[in-house]
Amino acid sequence: MISLEINGKQHSVDVEPDVPLLWVIREHLKLTGTKFGCGIGLCGSCTVHVDGKAERSCQIPVADARGKKITTIEGLPEDHPVKLAWIKEQVPQCGYCQSGQIMQAAALLAVDKNPSDEKIVNTMEGNLCRCGTYPYIKLAIKSAAGKGEKS
């Protein structure tokens, strides 16, 4: 059994230690907001916060997540400025990558309240969006910037 703290709650899961955190979150804890896109850390759909930092959950063996605070999209407050900005700027199209985008953006704003364009691009370029919502993502991050972080 492996103990995990996810979204402030303790969970015990019966899985092999090398199973990626992504699949434990999705299939064992049924937190399906975190998505599977590539499995090799190239698309960012599976992004979660590990001790506040944006990480690719498909690249983290579940055993390595022990003792860490994991936050998924479901654990980010509903009134989080990034979530609100994402609605205000009408970012999602198909929506599949957006949990990862939002988690990546929220982690950025947690450490940089007013990121430059360059910082936004450098931080977000690891998160693919096949619908091409990139201009809206930039807008939404700017819109959320400086409005106070709760994560």
Binding site: P92, G95, V121
Partner: protein, 725 residues
């Protein structure tokens, strides 16, 4: 659920035409014509009960019969209904439709989403549905009050009498349900629209932002297994021998079953199933395509392109045109296979029982998938139920006449006798075939002494998307698959002598529609080559096009608008070039101007794209702009990066490392200008894809003097062209 328009009671009564029979398809769609004129004869009955459900608490649920894959139909289609229904927009909810004939596409006679048709194909029906429902609600109120209907009006979810008394829609719903559907409904004039044409926030945004939106991959059933399938490394391959001993020993693996598409490993979860698959020992009979390679195919196509094909378009006299031309130029173009690479890899969940089969899937092809499942399960179509989930991207991949990912999952469920979710890894998805075809083009043209093109000859070589499918009968005419030549056989330019012909190659690689279908290829060739002609005529590419489009005001309109907004002809930042392209597809006219630079390493940078779009009457301008930008990003991914290549019958790409798509750091500034129009709506999901590749290629020519006649415009290709210069 005492609300009126109760779907469940009616849906199974309405499956008529499709039950047991083959698919009924409308005639070939003349996209521009269909969008402009609308369907001449109505292919549907007005059935408010199938589309509108009003609950006692005044919540109005619109049943949406098109799949939501990013394009915003869960908002735009309810907007059409509510323009006439006059419910309180804040009370509008949406639900995906079950499979039933009443939900068939008004032009295609089957339930499906594709071809950028959702809005225009529902533009009349859903407004009529809304109007009929409104009239029934008014009739119910008038009957209760015993007053003339004319003294009642609908307003924001209420029927209000001239005296000021009112009923809410929720109060009237049950009574209205018992009334007959009005025979003829009158629709508002466009000038009276309150909702249509107004930027409207998407109804599905909140759940797509908080992680609650359920995609196919997010479905869990009690006692469900997860399966991954080992498929042949070569298209058309078969299992020769299978040793599943080691796989069965993997922790969590429950079963290994053979299905027509390969070998499925079922386990408690994905990781175990994948580990089980890794442990399979399979010997494959690779079949006839094992020798296939992209270079070989290219050579074969190139040879074919020098010979006459089946005539797709003929006007004037090619020989006479050529002999009177004072200057002729010829070129050869080619574009690669492309994967759709939806962010959500393919998946399908099936619960098969002795007398039912329930499927949860992100699909664009409900009727086809339902019928395929029924035939595999040995059930009647009405015993198969499909839950259309949110699609994590479609782009055509989830509209497969072969129902590959649904059929396979049904086979697995049938063989394993357990509810199962089949998950494709990214690599499975990329290797899975059903690509945009590889195309090869030989094209030549001649100019008269004034520099006007007087002859145009275009030979196209490639696979037919619809060959061997049930679409073949409808979409192939006189040996020509219309999707192979669309955008090439119907060029708008005033050139008197034209020949466009086609060689349909037969190669064992599965191909499919890919966002903008044939146009994704033909616009690149036509619009690039037109630039070559402008250059040969020593004319400005914009003015050159303008001079040939006098009879095509909508082409001309977007071309001029894009040029103007882009500052065509005005000085540009040093080291940058501009390119322009214009193309009509799916009833919508799009012109794009790209600003491009290139560095010494041959890397292209697209800085800015100015786009003008004429899609007729807009429904939700908010999503139109988003779709246009989306299409440009999609087209740029292909123009700069995308290529599926084959070696020894095997697809060489697998994931986003070797099949890259555009990232945020490559995103140009995109400006979208929508032409104001009251013409009937055209499509919007696809039409902005075709012009972007040629606009970029033309810009590259303008800045670097090199003409790329192949995609993608990879640095090595650019460098090779530079060194030849």
């Amino acid at each position: 659920m005492s609300g009126i328009f109760n779907v469940s009671r009616r849906e199974f009564l309405k499956t008529g035409a499709l039950v047991g029979g083959g698919l009924i398809l409308g005639a070939h769609i003349d996209w521009a014509g269909a969008a402009e004129e609308g369907s001449k004869a109505k292919s549907y009955a007005i059935e408010p009960n199938a589309f509108v459900h009003i609950a006692p608490d005044n919540t109005v649920t619109i049943i949406v019969n098109h799949s939501e894959m990013g394009q915003g139909v869960y908002t735009s289609l309810p907007m059409l209904v509510n323009e006439e229904l006059e419910a309180d927009w804040k009370k509008i909810r949406f639900e995906s439709a079950p499979v039933a004939a009443v939900y068939n596409h008004t032009a295609f006679g089957m339930q499906m989403t594709g071809g950028s048709t959702s809005v225009w194909s529902e533009y009349d029906r859903l407004r009529e549905v809304g109007a009929a429902a409104r009239q029934m609600l008014i009739a119910a109120a008038a009957a209760t009050w015993k007053v003339d209907k004319k003294t009642c009006r609908a307003q924001k979810g209420k029927v209000v009498h001239t005296s000021g008394k009112f009923f809410t829609y929720g109060q009237l719903a049950e009574k209205a349900a018992a009334l007959p559907v009005p025979k003829d409904v009158k629709l508002k004039k466009a000038s009276a629209f309150k909702l249509i044409g107004r930027p409207t926030a998407r109804l599905d945004s909140p759940e797509k932002v908080n992680g609650a939106a359920k995609f196919g991959l997010d479905v869990f059933l009690p006692e469900m297994s997860v399966a991954v399938v080992a498929r042949p490394p070569v298209f058309g391959g078969k299992v020769k021998s299978l040793d599943a001993e080691k796989a069965k020993a993997v922790r969590g693996v429950k079963d290994v079953v053979q299905v027509p598409s390969g070998v499925a490993v079922l386990a408690s979860d994905f990781w175990q199933a994948k580990a089980g698959r890794d442990a399979l020992r399979i010997e494959w009979d690779e079949g006839p395509t094992a020798g296939l390679s992209t270079p070989g195919m290219k050579d074969q196509y190139a040879k074919l392109s020098k010979t006459p094909g089946k005539v797709a378009k003929k006007a004037g006299d090619i020989e006479a045109g050529l002999s009177s031309a004072v200057k002729t130029i010829s070129a050869e173009y080619h574009v690669p296979y492309l994967a759709h690479a939806t962010m959500e890899p393919l998946n399908c969940t099936v619960d098969m029982r002795p007398d039912s089969c329930e499927i949860w899937v992100g699909t664009q092809f409900q009727t086809v998938d339902r019928n395929a499942a029924a035939s595999i399960a040995g059930l009647k179509p009405e015993q198969v139920k499909i839950h259309t989930m949110f699609l994590g991207g479609g782009f055509g991949r989830r509209a497969n006449p072969a129902s590959d990912f649904v059929s396979e999952a049904v086979h697995v469920a049938k063989a394993a006798k357990t509810p199962v979710k089949v998950i494709w890894t990214r690599e499975d998805d990329t290797h899975g075939g059903y690509y945009r075809p590889f195309w090869y083009d030989s094209i030549s043209a001649g100019l008269d002494k004034t520099g006007k093109p007087i002859v145009w000859k275009h030979t196209i070589v490639g696979q037919s998307i619809v060959a061997g499918t049930f679409f073949e009968k409808v979409l192939v005419k006189d040996g020509i698959d219309n999707t192979s030549v669309e955008g090439a056989a119907d060029i708008p330019y005033a050139i008197p002598n034209i020949l466009v012909d086609l060689h349909t190659a037969s190669i064992g690689v599965p191909v499919l529609w890919w966002r903008s279908v044939g146009h994704s290829h033909t616009a690149f060739v036509v619009e690039s080559f037109l630039d070559e002609l402008a250059n040969a005529a020593q004319k400005d590419p914009f003015e050159f096009r303008k001079g040939l489009l006098a009879k095509h005001p909508r082409h001309l309109g977007v071309l001029t608008l894009a040029a103007e907004k882009a500052g065509w002809g005005r000085p540009l930042t040093k080291g940058r070039g501009r390119g322009i392209a214009v193309h009509e597809s799916f009833g919508t006219y799009v012109a794009e101007v790209a600003e491009v630079s290139v560095n010494k390493e041959g890397e292209l940078r697209v800085h800015r794209v100015v786009c003008a779009v004429d899609c007729g009457q807009t429904v939700n301008p908010e999503t139109i702009t988003a779709q246009v930008e989306s299409a440009i990003v999609f087209g740029l991914s292909a123009a700069l990066h995308g290529a599926i290549t084959i070696k020894g019958g095997r697809v060489e790409q697998g994931n986003f490392d070797d099949y890259p798509v555009l990232r945020l750091n490559e995103m140009p500034k995109v400006e979208v200008h929508i032409v104001k129009s009251r013409k009937k709506p055209g499509g919007i999901g696809e039409p902005a894809v075709p012009p972007i590749a040629p606009a970029v290629a033309n810009a590259l020519f303008s800045v670097a003097g090199i003409r790329l006649r192949e995609l993608p415009m990879k640095p090595e290709v650019v460098l090779a062209a530079m060194s030849k210069k």
